[in-house]
């Protein structure tokens, strides 16, 4: 009985995990009559920043301004504007900051290029390091060779001793 209960709870839990948090409709939000348009509007809302909460999308936020922006997004989509046109409409009033993903333009070029700008000197440093490591070692002088031989011999003898002791 207990095991059955546990299984039921686990099943329910995994069901929640699999289906995820269903996208809730905010209170006082009126969805568009056309479910297809509503979906487009919802997807777009995830890309629009709630300006007063800064790191939430208007889809996630309960702020008053987010509510207004959701209404405006729905209006635009309902009037057959494309998501791109709707974004441009918002950017004209709030700037690129209203988009959670900054667009590539002259102002944000450095931002987008920075990973590559940073990784190039890194590759160069790695390359130089590997170059110096693989450069051929110098030949031993005869004195060094002799020294090496005696060390190897002594080492082999101590190893033999240890072998015999075992």
């Amino acid at each position: 009985m207990n095991r059955l209960n546990l299984l039921a709870i686990l099943a329910l839990f995994s069901l929640i995990l699999i289906t995820g948090n269903p996208a809730k409709l905010h209170a006082n939000d009126e969805p568009l009559p056309d479910p297809q348009k509503e979906q487009i509007a919802r997807d777009l809302m995830k890309e629009i920043r709630c300006l007063v909460c800064q790191n939430q999308s208007i889809e996630d936020s309960n702020a008053d301004l987010a509510k207004d922006l959701r209404r405006i997004v729905r209006e635009q989509i309902n009037n057959d504007r494309t998501p791109e046109q709707t974004k441009a409409y918002l950017v004209a009033r709030y700037g690129d900051w209203v988009l959670l993903k900054p667009p590539v333009n002259t102002g944000t070029f450095l931002l987008w290029a920075s990973p590559f700008i940073l990784i190039l000197p890194g590759i160069w440093l790695l390359f130089r390091r590997s170059q110096s490591a693989t450069s051929a070692p110098q030949e031993l002088t005869s004195a060094e060779k002799e020294q090496l031989n005696t060390i190897i011999k002594a080492d082999a003898e101590t190893n033999d001793e240890q072998e015999t002791r075992r």
Binding site: L51, Q54, A92, R93, Y94, G95
Partner: protein, 176 residues
């Protein structure tokens, strides 16, 4: 040379951070895209019998003005109100008030209680004018030149030394 590389990075970061920490920089400030541009199209609900207030009426002024978004429910607006009164009365600056998402009777009561610094004010009852101006909250203040261009945007209340270090120097720049 390679030995000093980490040191160079540290020195660079120290300079960068010191620069970013410098006086008067507010990282939470939201920049307004209209600065340097013509004022957006809008028209206000008449809540004070001052006649039509719109982008056209501002362009007809032919003098620099301040545009102040306020609301009776906005606490920081109370904080900056004394400075608005000083601007209007002591510095003879014309301030246009826009009551953002506020009921007309509440806006009127607010100005009756604290004094009216505006030569004209109107209502933006649903916040759509604020949207056109890219306002994210109240208070926000814009300086408009005599050609109807936005010259300066002040995010948040005009408190502390903001009146003397920001607003008045900007006004002086314009009158020169």
């Amino acid at each position: 040379m390679q030995r000093f590389f980490p040191l160079l990075i540290v020195i660079f970061l120290v300079i960068l951070f010191a620069y970013m920490l410098r006086d008067g920089r507010n990282p939470s400030e939201i920049k307004n895209v209209h600065v340097g541009e013509a004022i957006p199209q809008f028209s206000l609900t008449d809540i004070s019998n001052t006649g039509e207030i719109s982008d056209q009426s501002i362009r007809n002024e032919k003098t620099p003005i301040l545009v102040n978004f306020f609301a009776s429910w906005c606490v920081p607006c109370r904080a900056e109100h004394d400075n608005l009164m000083a601007l209007a009365n002591t510095h003879n600056v014309r301030i246009l008030g826009i009551a953002y998402k506020d009921q007309p009777e509440d806006s009127r009561a607010f100005l009756e209680e604290l004094g009216n610094p505006f030569y004209k004010y109107g209502g933006d009852i649903d916040g759509s004018v604020g949207f056109e101006w890219g306002v994210t909250g109240v208070p926000e203040t814009f300086l408009i030149d005599s050609n109807g261009r936005v010259r300066y945007h002040h995010y948040g209340p005009i408190v502390g030394d903001a009146l003397h270090t920001k607003i008045l120097p900007q006004l002086e720049d314009l009158s020169q």
